[in-house]
């Protein structure tokens, strides 16, 4: 590798460099301004703004960074910068912006204000890990990025030490995380043992041209899927989700349910597409190597994930737990989009994710405002809240309706594109199972609405007043959910542009 390569590579990973620099700046600022931490969120915002501009530029400015020396001709580099990765980085950036506001409002975080430096440094660590996950095309880089993400999130899950549940969440997250990343590492080593390389494109060429023991390869693929499945909380790697979501500070819970899931999905899609797919056919379906049956595995996992997520969500009384299981179910729907193994499916996943970002974070934000005031996350304590705090009630209703997937909200459009992809691929049975799942989902989402509006308010029901910035913020979250529900052309156009994955 010569210097020219290095410079061009560095220019391709600008957002990551920005994030790293601001991570260091935050650490330094934390040391300098020992007493006053008010500056740190703004420093974080500045970093995010710069990074977001750089990410948007990546939609068109694509290429391979950190290529290997020319001993191996086909090597395309360790980092693949393309529109697909940029889309997920954008999702991560947007949710990070939202997270900064979340943390600014959250009581849990305010109580630990003197540790705000650590908090933001760790969040930037997460962002860095997720950015690399979205564009990594080398197994070693994938592993290191995954560890960076996991390590930061373990600590953040237990950031607020005032409740024991926090530490419990953190420890549970750590144990499950260590196990699954161990499994993944084992899978990576098998891949290396088979092919002698860790580069996904190299692996692709190798798999296409050599006879391989299918059992071994399947085993390794499943092990790697274990690592990814843990991040996107798919069955059977989902056990940590409800406990961690319930125990972690609510801002981190919301962030985990969107950003870290986005990174997991980006990784899954890129791993499959770069290592196993030879080309797209004219209709957008992927010509996948017959060495491992990703189609069946993904369908099985996604159906299990959504059904289990939805059925378990029915019995939850804590709204954070309910949203945790609902996020498991949503991961199932999105996995179904991947399982189609076509560009249509991928477009559906991207669209779904974009809308999911707003509706899920919006719901979490309102739950947090209510918890700030009442100190409770039990659904039973929401009785009559729709009357005492009508604005929050209506807003939460709209987010829930979007999560159910009813028109005219954006949630419906996400589901619609998913089912379009499924029907086009003639996966009718699967589509029907997924649709029946949305009927189940209706029941537990509507339960929250029932408590808010249909049940009489009790004496204890408090009025949750909302200050103006929060109102503006909620409207800002609601706007995409409602506007894109009736005019979704731009989002779909953008998603279609971003479905191009480099490397085929």
């Amino acid at each position: 590798m010569n210097y020219e390569n290095l410079y061009s590579s560095l220019s391709l990973i600008q957002p990551e460099i920005t994030i790293s620099v601001f991570l260091l700046l935050i650490v330094v600022a934390d040391l300098i301004f020992d007493k006053n931490k008010a500056l740190i969120p703004f420093l974080a915002l500045a970093g995010l703004i710069i990074a977001s501009v750089q990410v948007i530029l990546q939609v068109t400015n694509t290429g391979y960074a950190f290529p290997f020396s020319d001993v191996y001709l086909s090597r395309k580099g360790m980092v693949t910068v393309d529109a697909f990765g940029a889309f997920f980085k954008l999702i991560i950036i947007i949710s990070s912006f939202i997270l900064v506001y979340f943390s600014y409002v959250s009581d849990e975080i305010k109580k630990s204000e003197k540790n705000l430096g650590e908090y933001y440094a760790l969040i930037f660590g997460m962002i860095l890990g997720m950015f690399f996950l979205s564009s990594a095309s080398d197994l070693i880089l994938i592993y290191v990025a995954l560890e960076l993400l996991s390590l930061s999130s373990y600590v953040l899950a237990g950031f607020s030490k005032l409740r024991t549940r926090n530490s419990e969440a953190s420890l549970k997250y750590l144990i499950y995380g260590a196990t699954s990343s161990g499994l993944m590492l084992f899978g990576i080593s098998i891949f290396y043992g088979l092919s002698g390389t860790t580069n996904l494109y190299e692996i692709n060429t190798f798999l296409a041209s050599h006879q391989i023991n299918h059992l071994t390869l399947s085993f390794a693929s499943i092990l790697i899927f274990a690592g990814i499945g843990y991040k996107i909380s798919s069955v059977p790697f989902h056990f940590w989700t409800p406990d961690v979501y319930e125990g972690a500070p609510i801002s981190i819970t919301a962030y985990l349910s969107v950003a870290s899931k986005a990174a997991g999905f980006a990784l899954l899609v890129r791993f499959i597409k770069s290592a196993f797919v030879t080309s797209d056919d004219s209709l957008g379906y992927w010509e996948i190597l017959s060495v491992f049956d990703w189609h069946s595995l993904l369908i099985l996992v996604s159906i299990l994930t959504m059904t289990l997520g939805n059925l378990t969500a029915l019995w939850q009384n804590n709204i954070k737990r309910m949203l945790a299981y609902s996020s498991i179910a949503h991961a199932g729907y999105m996995l179904l989009g991947v399982a189609v193994l076509s560009n249509q499916g991928l477009v559906a996943v991207l669209i779904y994710f974009f809308f999911y970002l707003f509706m899920n974070l919006g719901a979490f934000f309102i739950v947090m405002l209510i918890a700030n005031k009442t100190g409770s996350e039990e659904i039973d304590d929401y009785n009559g809240l729709g009357y005492t705090s009508p604005f929050l009630g209506v807003a939460l209703t709209l987010f829930m309706v979007a999560l159910i997937g009813l028109p005219p909200t954006a949630g419906f459009i996400g589901k619609l594109y998913l089912f379009i992809a499924l029907v086009d691929a003639q996966m009718i049975t699967v589509a029907i199972i997924a649709l029946l799942n949305t009927v189940i989902a209706l029941y537990y989402y509507i339960r929250v609405l029932k408590h808010m509006f249909l049940t009489k308010s009790t004496v204890e029901t408090q009025t949750v007043s909302v200050i103006r910035p929060n109102i503006i913020f909620i409207i800002f979250m609601l706007a995409p959910v409602l506007i894109f529900g009736v005019y979704f052309g731009p989002v779909v156009d953008f998603a279609k542009r971003c479905v191009q994955i480099l490397g085929l």
């Binding site: 560009n343 009813l406 589509a431 249909l454 779909v492």
Partner: protein
């Protein structure tokens, strides 16, 4: 009327009203009520104007050119990459003879229900906002000619309905509301999946010669628009048209509600407040049968011919079953609810005949049932408001106590029974004439006539128990009708009598379209394989 988006205005005027209401302060009760009433009244006036300008000779159904008052523009336009094609969704609305009576019905019932809501006191602002949103949803269903748009409106009314029953309903409101919601959502996922299947089977030819998949309902009716290998294409030897038809039919049947999917209806009716019962029976149930006529029939004429017998059978079951269960009721409102089940059976029977008389009768029955049942629910509302009970056996001798009220009740009851010179008679007679003509369903038709007898039985029996006999002393303080109730009852009574003596008023509107539909269903999509089952 050129260029004036009257249909869109009719559909969205309630939403405008809703927005106004949302910005009114909660305390301005009177302003909120008046805004809601104004919105529904404007809608009614516009509908009447629409009716006045309606061209009776245009057929509609499958030809865009013979639809009237069309509002159409590209709503979503996504330029395709090579693999997913161009996605274009139209905002496409228009009326023909099938939707015109429904538009009129919806606006009439909305005004009546709005007046009937006058004494609602709990969370007034939310109530009227949801009420108007519901109005838009219903109206949108009746005028949409793009499947996607249709579906959006179809789902749009679920949530307002859930809250309207759930917040302002009776003691078991939560159960009734969620049951309604789950049933209809289950039905609509069937509709959704068929919609997507059709989307991938029919292609529209754009002016520039490009062929794109489409949600346009009219495009889906033309056999030549189907692709060779589409999953619901008649050209595909392994097509799923039969299954899709059944799925779609179930989706609509839940709304009708057709036996055995009817169990949500009695619960919803009993728990809902009077105005919502009026809307539910007056308009919502018609959406199911309308959907079958608008979508199932012309898009799947082949399967329709094949399954007409079963539709008739289910119609007969509805008639007889509904009537028998109505006989056993002790609750006034439940009785009316089950009579609805029975009366919607006539609509199914008429539709299944596939004759001009039968389908004319079915649509007229939809309109008449809408007005008559609305009146019946208002009648229950009047007595419930005063006595706070609905038990049929709790009353007696009300005729002497409330003579004017009893007069209106008599008109409504006799109309429901199908007494000549009242509107119910004409539509039921047409249904039976149409159905009797068709040899294959003649036996079913003959059995169904039993329903008239039973109908007379439960109606008259109920009347006797409530209004005649000795006056229960408990109710000697009951007042007769007040002004607001006159305003609700008189227009409905006029319509019932008018359509009873001069049914052509409505029949002429629908006749051309019905002829077109019958002709279309019996001649199109012939000689194609019925795969899938």
């Amino acid at each position: 009327m050129e260029g004036f988006p009257i249909i869109s205005l009719i559909t969205f005027i309630p939403v405008i009203g809703m927005l106004v209401i949302l910005f009114l302060p909660k305390e301005k009760v009177q302003n909120i009520k008046i805004t809601a009433l104004a919105a529904t009244l404007i809608q009614l006036v516009l509908s009447v104007i629409l009716m006045a300008n309606y061209n009776y000779s245009a057929g509609g159904i499958f030809e865009e050119s013979s639809f009237q008052f069309i509002d159409k523009f590209r709503w979503i336009n996504i330029e395709g990459l090579s693999w997913i094609g161009t996605v274009k969704i139209d905002y496409f609305m228009g009326v023909d003879g099938i939707s015109m009576p429904m538009v009129l019905l919806t606006s009439i019932i909305s005004v009546i229900a709005c007046i009937s809501s006058w004494n609602i006191s709990k969370s007034l602002k939310g109530y009227f906002a949801l009420f108007l949103l519901l109005d838009t949803g219903m109206m949108g269903v009746f005028v949409s000619l793009d499947f996607f748009l249709f579906y959006v409106f179809w789902e749009l009314m679920l949530l307002p309905m859930y809250f309207l029953i759930g917040i302002w309903g009776g003691p078991r409101k939560e159960y009734a509301a969620i049951k309604f919601f789950l049933y209809t959502l289950l039905g609509s996922i069937f509709i959704l999946i068929v919609m997507l299947g059709l989307y991938f089977s029919a292609m529209e030819i754009l002016p520039d010669g490009q062929r794109v998949f489409t949600f346009n309902i009219l495009t889906m009716m033309d056999q030549s628009n189907y692709t060779q290998d589409g999953i619901l294409s008649p050209f595909n030897p392994n097509n799923w048209r039969m299954l899709a038809y059944i799925a779609l039919f179930i989706g609509f049947a839940i709304k009708i509600p057709m036996f055995p999917f009817h169990t949500w209806l009695p619960d919803a009716h009993v728990e809902a407040p009077t105005p919502i019962s009026v809307i539910l029976a007056g308009v919502l149930l018609k959406m199911g049968t309308y959907g079958i006529l608008r979508i199932s029939y012309p898009i799947f004429p082949d399967i329709t011919r094949e399954l007409a017998w079963y539709i008739a059978l289910f119609g007969a079951v509805n008639i007889i079953y509904g009537a028998f269960v109505a006989l056993a009721q002790k609750d006034f409102k439940k009785l009316i609810a089950y009579s609805s089940v029975s009366h919607m059976g006539y609509v199914l029977l008429g539709m299944a005949s596939l004759t001009t008389a039968g389908i004319n009768g079915a649509i007229l029955q939809m309109f008449n049932h809408g007005t008559i049942t609305a009146m019946l629910f208002l009648i229950v509302g009047v007595v419930y408001d005063r006595a706070h009970t609905r038990g049929l056996n709790d009353f007696g001798g009300l005729a002497s106590q409330m003579p004017v009220y009893t007069g209106f009740v008599t008109v409504a009851f006799f109309a429901a029974i199908g007494l000549p010179s009242l509107s119910g008679f004409i539509s039921e007679a047409l249904v039976f004439i149409g159905a009797f003509h068709v040899e294959s369903i003649r036996v079913i038709t003959i059995i169904s006539t039993l329903g008239i007898l039973l109908g007379a039985g439960y109606m008259l029996w109920a009347m006797q128990r409530v209004f005649f006999g000795k006056l229960n002393e408990k109710w000697s303080g009951l007042q007769d009708l007040e002004m607001r109730e006159y305003i609700m009852f008189i227009p409905l009574t006029i319509i019932i009598i008018l359509l009873g003596v001069y049914p052509s008023l409505m029949l002429d509107v629908m006749n051309t379209s019905v002829n077109t539909l019958v002709d279309f269903v019996s001649t199109n999509f012939t000689n194609i394989s019925l795969g899938g089952l």
